[in-house]
Symmetry: D2
Subunit: 267 residues, 4 copies
């Protein structure tokens, strides 16, 4: 069964990213061709190979990229001209980049602090802009309800994976919190601006650990499966199913902010 | 196909409640037997008849009830001993009671203000307590991860339908806001208390109009379908699908608060 | 020096209420005549005597009352006809009623839960209505900026003492949280409705212990003074100074929500 | 009367900054020597001259600086070695830098977006770090309650002037909102980290226009005075009084987030 569209995911690590990708790419779930972006080529290619092996019938391609505009533009261009992906409309774009740092305030440097903002929040901006341009190119620029536009004319879904740090910021987490809150406000502004065009913008708030307990060759697989089954840890595939569900929301009802936590997580 | 469980919904009006019930009861969606509760018997029985007619294969039963403890207890007893529902485990309980009032502060009376709290927040409390007792009776009382307990031992989902008024309260809406915020905090406290037991508690924040454009004999059906298709109004069935999705979340990942709005709603 | 106006404080206990009253009544601070309301006459009269003794030149009168409308109306009538208070305009009204309860959800009763709402949230409503009527009677009903109205025409300040429970509600605190959140939304609605009339409505969020370390005959006085001096506990007089400051805010700049915590309180 | 300490204010414009500075410097209010920082030397020197003229007995000095670390370090060094300021302990540091921009998302550039973050959020970081180092140098590094430390050992107050954009972000305001929210989270992290040391960190949320209606030679002075007197606009001096009040809060009770709005502002 040919994929019915394209998903682009940046932040393709061995846990959250891997689980999301598997669900999106699986013919029995998302049935989307998936373009995976991550900074380091070697682990990205390994992950891609592993995901392909465990997901028969999937289309998964790797595009090493960091969050600079130049690198993201190259990746989006490569995706646009890639044989297996070229004619598929972009349906879902996910910004799921790792962002963490803890440091006493007086030990933090201005260079590291602003680098963190540029890399993480600036990266979210650049990624979002490229994704939105592709949504409009692939699905048209008409606002919802414009004369002649079709019903339920959702153009795509843009998801930012965030954390509780976007809302509450602990001691020694200034750079982390500023970045998380920055992306949350970017998402909120975009939701208000792009929603009438039919572009669905979501910010998620993951609260608790996420593990891809289905990942290949995990030594801690059994332990992780147990933690997931007992509600102590989120399964990365469950995150993927949540994102897919968000994408399946139509223009008449959509969710802008989604909290995600395992049942046993304190909050 | 026999229903796989039971849902109880209080607030069975012709829009939100009707749409939710249709989705939950439909064999191709929730496939749950649905017990509908509403204050006025006549419209409730009409609605039940209409839902049965439009949902082949469904099990839908009516139990007139208001939000007083005595009335709710009678309804839960009647449900427990109803032939078509008796052996089904409770899966989903939804508190979706109408709550609105606008009045200049100096024209409001203490009696009306506190009645509103007792009816709406007190009703949520009473409904929640009955639902939780049935979850525990039907699914056991063991906490998640207790020795010998099965994996993914979710016991059920309790949803409170709220609105933006729970977060931001306009002039002349004191009773409305106090009630909405009260139920939100009730939901938050229950989520923290019951989550480790495997009971999933959700508070939704509907922002915008909800219409059951599939309802029988709607004169404004075409207009409403258009409003839904253009992202101006929420379809009540979409709300039902969202609630069903919440119920399908497993113990490893669940959502406590869900905002719902049509794409063209300002926020 | 004759008091320049009247303050009414309900919730006159030995800590928060006492410290607030002392600051408001002190000729060198608020210089307001203070009407103290509390449920139990005996401790109220003792507190009043102690406050008078420690605050030379103050006018402090006791009016036993609970939060029912009838009781509050009697107290407001008695205040209006009391010789020492009769000709003073109401400047500041403070709802600082104790509200706490912790109970496992399934052990809570509907009667207790709704009583708590009626007493605490309904009481806030009734107190606010009486206070607002007196503000309007004493200071006129014209909105700000109406032709002929004087500049800076603030009519008075209505403060609700709240807690973090209004925002975040822990397990087993459903009644507490619902009440606290209910009053917060009441305050928010009133702020939006009454602000254009020149009535300043404030909701405070006290986070941490409050002690009146200046209270008479405290056995733990030294220990409490130390806790206050080290930023571990709030001084009740500091709360009073904060409330006085809120009252001194003019129509051009006022604060609707004020968090208060000692420096060493975790949050 | 010699100033009792030092205040440093960055963002010394003709409205908010001017009003705050006048109150802080006035011998009858803050009685603090004030170091004013702003990007453009010419207007800064004019403002300084005007403030000195209208505030007899004040000590106000100008230090042109932008929000880069190098520029801020030069300014803090110049302050430390300035004859009139050298021996004064830093009491209050205020980050009140202008930050606004509105642009359709697809017209925004990555360079402008990240410059905005670096300048505004990075600037807040650099300013905060220099201010905190001076607080510790001038007031000692002991935490509150350490053996031998004096009671009420507040070391100083660090205020960030923010806006509602830190909480709710409208369409076309992505850069603005990301910056405002970033500084808010920085402030929140610092509050949690530095509070036990006796450093008071505050984030204010100004909602509505602020005018220095006392400013010299204002052509619109009368109109502005009327807007302030009717509760349509905040007086910059009222903002200054609020900041001074925050600084006067002792370790037993302080406020982390303060909303400020004129009585007639919708919210």
């Amino acid at each position: 069964m040919a994929p019915k569209g394209l998903a682009i995911l940046i932040g393709a690590g061995p846990n959250t990213g891997a689980g999301i990708a598997r669900i999106l790419a699986s013919p029995s779930h998302g049935n989307l061709a998936v373009a995976l972006l991550a900074r380091r080529p070697e682990p990205l290619h390994q992950l891609t190979a592993s995901l392909r092996a465990s997901t028969p019938g999937s289309t998964i391609e790797a595009f090493p990229a960091d969050t600079t505009p130049a690198s993201l533009e190259r990746a989006f261009s490569a995706i646009a001209s890639h044989a297996a992906l070229a004619n598929l409309p972009l349906e879902l774009a996910i910004y799921s980049v790792k962002h963490s740092s803890k440091k006493p305030f007086l030990e933090e440097t201005h260079a590291d602090f602003t680098d963190s903002l540029t890399t993480y929040v600036g990266g979210a901006f650049a990624f979002a802009q490229l994704a939105v341009r592709r949504f409009l190119r692939d699905h048209g620029e008409q606002p919802l309800g414009a004369p002649g536009s079709p019903p339920n004319a959702k153009k795509g879904t843009l998801v930012f994976t965030g954390t509780l740090g976007a809302l509450r910021c602990s001691a020694q987490f200034a750079a982390y919190g500023a970045g998380r809150a920055g992306v949350r406000q970017l998402a909120q502004s975009l939701a208000r601006e792009l929603s009438p065009l039919g572009i669905h913008v979501v910010h998620t708030i993951a609260n608790g650990g996420i593990r891809d307990e289905m990942g290949e060759g995990r030594e801690d697989g059994e332990e992780e499966k147990k933690a997931v089954a007992e509600g102590k840890r989120m399964s990365a595939e469950s995150v993927g199913r949540a994102y897919l569900w968000l994408h399946e929301q139509g223009v008449d009802l959509w969710t802008h902010e989604l909290d995600l936590r395992p049942a046993q997580e304190k909050f």
